[in-house]
């Protein structure tokens, strides 16, 4: 160390240190810098954004403004996040067509790749809820019973006990949740489309969302059991009452008519 300290003030010392420092940073960079793949991602991301912008200006700009700032025909999309786009376009609500009480679901006209591009573009306008990953929305391992309680507390007042939908004012309605992609259920909770309130992670944590999805999967999918037979829509006593009148009492009257007719014939003969 003595030798080193003695040469500390050597005129070339600074140069040596500089060389060392350069080597170190270079080495560190080589070790820690993102792989070339990441660089490609980066450019893919910006490519997606430019692609998305193109799709956007064709399909969406008329209503949402040339750069998503909004117009009289559609709200601003700054900060709605990729989840909102994935939900709205993925369920076919967007691009909207004619005005009405509520923008309805239609057949989705974009591929998932195009939706991702649109989502990337909108997400680049401002931070917002991000499209969930599969393990976030997968019902596997979630607690359906807890999800049921959460659903009855937060959702059934609009969507019915098992998500069969219900009416809101002036022709608006909460749709049936049967057959809705778990990803879209998750995104609906994140973003709160149209007249639905949003349930951000602060009020409804990710696990709780997965629980709700698990509950819906148990009670409202094609695999849910119906121990009682035909369900009449699981929409409550109205359909049951209608059935009792039409088929129950209808059958009774038919039988009564049949029996009364039997005797008069027997009497005549």
């Amino acid at each position: 160390m003595k030798k080193l300290s003695a040469r500390r003030r050597h005129p070339l010392a600074a140069l040596v240190v500089l060389l060392f420092a350069l080597a170190a940073t270079g080495g560190l960079y080589a070790a820690l810098a993102p792989a070339p793949k990441a660089q490609a991602d980066d450019s893919a991301q910006s490519l997606a954004i430019t692609q998305g912008k193109k799709l956007y200006s064709v399909g969406c700009a008329t209503c949402h403004g040339t750069s998503g700032q909004g117009s009289t025909d559609g709200p601003s999309l700054v900060g709605v996040g990729s989840a909102a786009v994935d939900f709205q376009v993925g369920t076919g609500r967007m691009p909207a067509q004619q005005p009405g009480a509520q923008i309805p679901k239609k057949k989705n006209i974009y591929t998932q790749a195009q939706i991702d591009q649109l989502a990337a573009y909108i997400a680049s306008l401002g931070p917002g809820p991000v499209v969930p990953t599969k393990d976030q929305y997968s019902p596997a391992g979630a607690d359906a019973a807890k999800g049921g309680e959460l659903f009855r507390t937060n959702c059934s007042q609009c969507h019915n006990f098992v998500g069969r939908g219900g009416a809101l004012t002036d022709g608006k309605f909460a749709p049936s949740l049967k057959g809705v992609d778990p990803k879209h259920v998750y995104e609906a909770m994140q973003t709160g489309p149209q007249n639905m309130p949003s349930f951000p992670d602060t009020t409804m944590p990710q696990d709780a969302k997965a629980d709700i999805i698990a509950y819906l999967h148990e009670v409202d999918s094609s695999s849910s059991p119906n121990p009682g037979g035909f369900t009449l829509g699981t929409i409550g006593p109205v359909s049951e009452g209608l059935f009792a009148w039409v088929f129950g009492l209808g059958a009774m009257i038919a039988i009564a008519v049949w029996m009364a007719a039997r005797t008069s014939k027997a009497k005549k003969s």
Binding site: A101, A144, A145, K146, G147, G148, E149, R152, T153, S156, Q157, C158, H159, N160, F161, V162, R164, G165, G166, A167, L168, T169, D170, G171, F173, Y215, E218, V219, N226, P227, G228, G229, F230, T231, L232, T234, I235, G236, P237, V238, S239, E240, G241, F243, A244, W245, F247, G248, L249, A251, M252, I253, I255, A256, V257, M259, A260, A261, T263, S264
Partner: protein, 544 residues
């Protein structure tokens, strides 16, 4: 052989069945009872079997209800669910709900019996409504059957509440919402509302008492009352004998039909099994009240589409379409939006209950009637019945406004306004239309009597004219079309007596006369063909 020596006059009973009959007759006087009753005649018409539909559904309700009581726990104590139904695993619930889950998923035949019980209840009350309307439209409620009409009506009223209390027992989210609804209605009663609610629920809603209280009412009090009334209803039918439709050979003094034994009894027994069979088939195939999808009741939860069973639907409709009016004064709130419907609810039912008395007052008709009316011959009564049904069904639509909205893509607000306006307008409209239709039918009957039945056969006469051949009616048919009486409205007599002094008529008498004119006046009846008219036309050469 001591019996033979004691009653030597009697032939010795040899067959064991005969011996049993002898034994009971000696103690209960069965033979005499049977002789007078078993030959009772019961007329044949499908609409006379509607009462039986009610009777058999009631029997089915009792049978299945007893089975359910074996497993149901009327208790509000909290338990944690650990049964086979996964989506409720570990959820806290009342014992009442848990035991209903147990019946549905673990008790052998439990779910089937639950579903039979519930479907039978819906069909029972629907049957009562249709049976009541049969009696109404045919005038079966007239003297001497007014009391029986009231018995029947009370059965309907009690039936509704038996249904409501039963529906509330499982303590699921749907029925809990219904009980909450009822509590809200009770609370809206001025002055005593809060006390009444506290008394009923044994404290704050929902409390720990209501399921056990509803249970006693549902399985003991109301069915007991109903069984008693039902027996009285049947005894009175026996005592009065059944009415019959007009027809040849049927008079106010006889009953034409099949004797109670053996034909009628055999048919009734068969009918019981058919009713039981239909209800069981429905229950085996179609879900009713799937409480597992609803979860246990918690006052902080609610679902859309929360309706009562259909027979309470008209009260739901009243509340749903009533504007939310309130009066606030002196620190109190009078919730008219709930209180007014609460008051209209019994009025809707009372309107039909008191009708027989109103009608006999209006018409001044105090005679006995055993021959039924054809509805067309009493246009005002028929019109009133249709108006009442219209009101009832309009309110039912109001009770399901959200379901109609989602399933027919309508606005719930538009439906609510339809019901609000329809409540006042539609009964008047249907009354008027029904009366017109009745008069039209009377006119057609008159034409048929005078000109015969249109055969659809076209005949060409020698001089080239085409005519339709009319076939004269048979004697029986003529009788049916002309048997009804056409009473005159009440006549108050001249306004001045022979001395020119104005006679005093009370305003009540005037009202009665006016309503009687409405009931029997020329605007409500097409005069029947008189014998002379008939003679004249039929004596001539046929058709005109």
């Amino acid at each position: 052989m001591s019996t033979t020596t004691e009653s030597p006059s009697r032939r010795q009973a040899t067959h064991p069945g005969e011996r049993i009959a002898e034994w009971t007759d000696g103690r209960l006087g069965l033979y005499k009872l049977a002789k007078s009753n078993l030959r009772k005649i019961f007329p044949d018409h499908w609409s006379f079997m509607l009462g039986e539909v009610c009777l058999y559904s009631f029997v089915i309700l009792i049978l299945t209800g007893v089975y359910l009581t074996l497993f149901f726990h009327p208790s509000m104590s909290e338990v944690v669910y650990h049964g086979p139904y996964a989506p409720l695993q570990g959820v806290r619930m009342s014992d009442a709900y848990a035991s209903t889950m147990h019946i549905s998923f673990e008790v052998r035949g439990g779910l089937l019996v639950r579903q039979i019980h519930h479907w039978a209840a819906l069909i029972f009350i629907a049957g009562m409504i249709v049976h009541m309307m049969r009696v109404f439209f045919t005038g079966g409620f007239r003297k001497p059957r007014e009391i029986n009409w009231l018995f029947g009506w009370t059965l309907l009223f009690l039936g509704m509440f038996t249904g409501f209390t039963g529906y509330s027992l499982p303590d699921d989210l749907l029925s809990g919402t219904g009980v909450r609804f009822m509590e809200g209605a009770i609370l809206s009663t001025p002055l005593i509302g809060t006390y009444l609610s506290m008394f009923l629920f044994g404290g704050e809603f929902p409390g720990h008492d209501f399921v056990s209280r509803f249970y006693s009412v549902h399985i003991l009090l109301l069915p007991g009352l109903m069984a008693g009334l039902l027996t009285a209803h049947l005894i009175l039918i026996f005592y009065h004998k059944h009415t019959q439709f007009p027809g040849a050979g049927k008079t106010e003094k006889n009953v034409v039909g099949t004797p109670l034994l053996p034909i009628y009894t055999a048919k009734a027994g068969g009918f019981f099994f058919l009713v039981f069979g239909v209800i069981s088939a429905i229950a085996a195939m179609v879900t009713i009240n799937p409480i597992w999808t609803m979860g246990p009741y918690r006052p902080d939860q609610v679902s859309t589409g929360a309706q009562p069973d259909w027979y309470m639907g008209f009260s739901e409709g009243l509340i749903r379409v009533m504007p939310g009016w309130e009066i606030r004064a002196w620190g109190h709130t009078l919730v008219l939006g709930v209180f007014i419907p609460l008051m209209i609810f019994p009025l809707v039912l009372m309107a039909i209950a008191v009708y027989p008395f109103v009608e006999s007052w209006i018409t001044g008709d105090k005679r006995e009637h055993h021959i039924l009316d054809r509805p067309r011959n009493r246009p005002v009564r028929t019109g009133f019945g249709v108006a009442w049904l219209t009101l009832y069904f309009v309110l039912l639509i109001g009770g399901g406004n959200d379901i109609w909205a989602t399933h027919f893509h309508l606005s719930i607000n538009a439906i609510t306004w339809f019901v609000r306006i329809g409540f006042f307008v539609l009964p008047v409209l249907t009354y008027w239309i029904t009366k017109r239709i009745c008069l039209g039918l009377q006119r057609r009957d008159r034409d048929k009597v005078l000109h015969g039945r249109e055969t659809g056969i076209i005949k060409r006469l020698p001089h080239g004219e085409f005519i339709e051949v009319h076939e004269p009616l048979s004697q029986q048919q003529l009788h049916v079309l002309t048997a009804h009486a056409q009473p005159r409205p009440i006549d108050l007599g001249p306004e001045f007596d022979e001395n020119g002094v104005a006679r005093k008529t009370s305003p009540v008498a005037k009202l009665q006369a006016r309503m009687s004119r409405n009931f029997y006046g020329e605007n409500s009846a097409i005069p029947k063909p008189t014998a002379e008219e008939f003679e004249e036309i039929t004596a001539g050469h046929g058709h005109h």
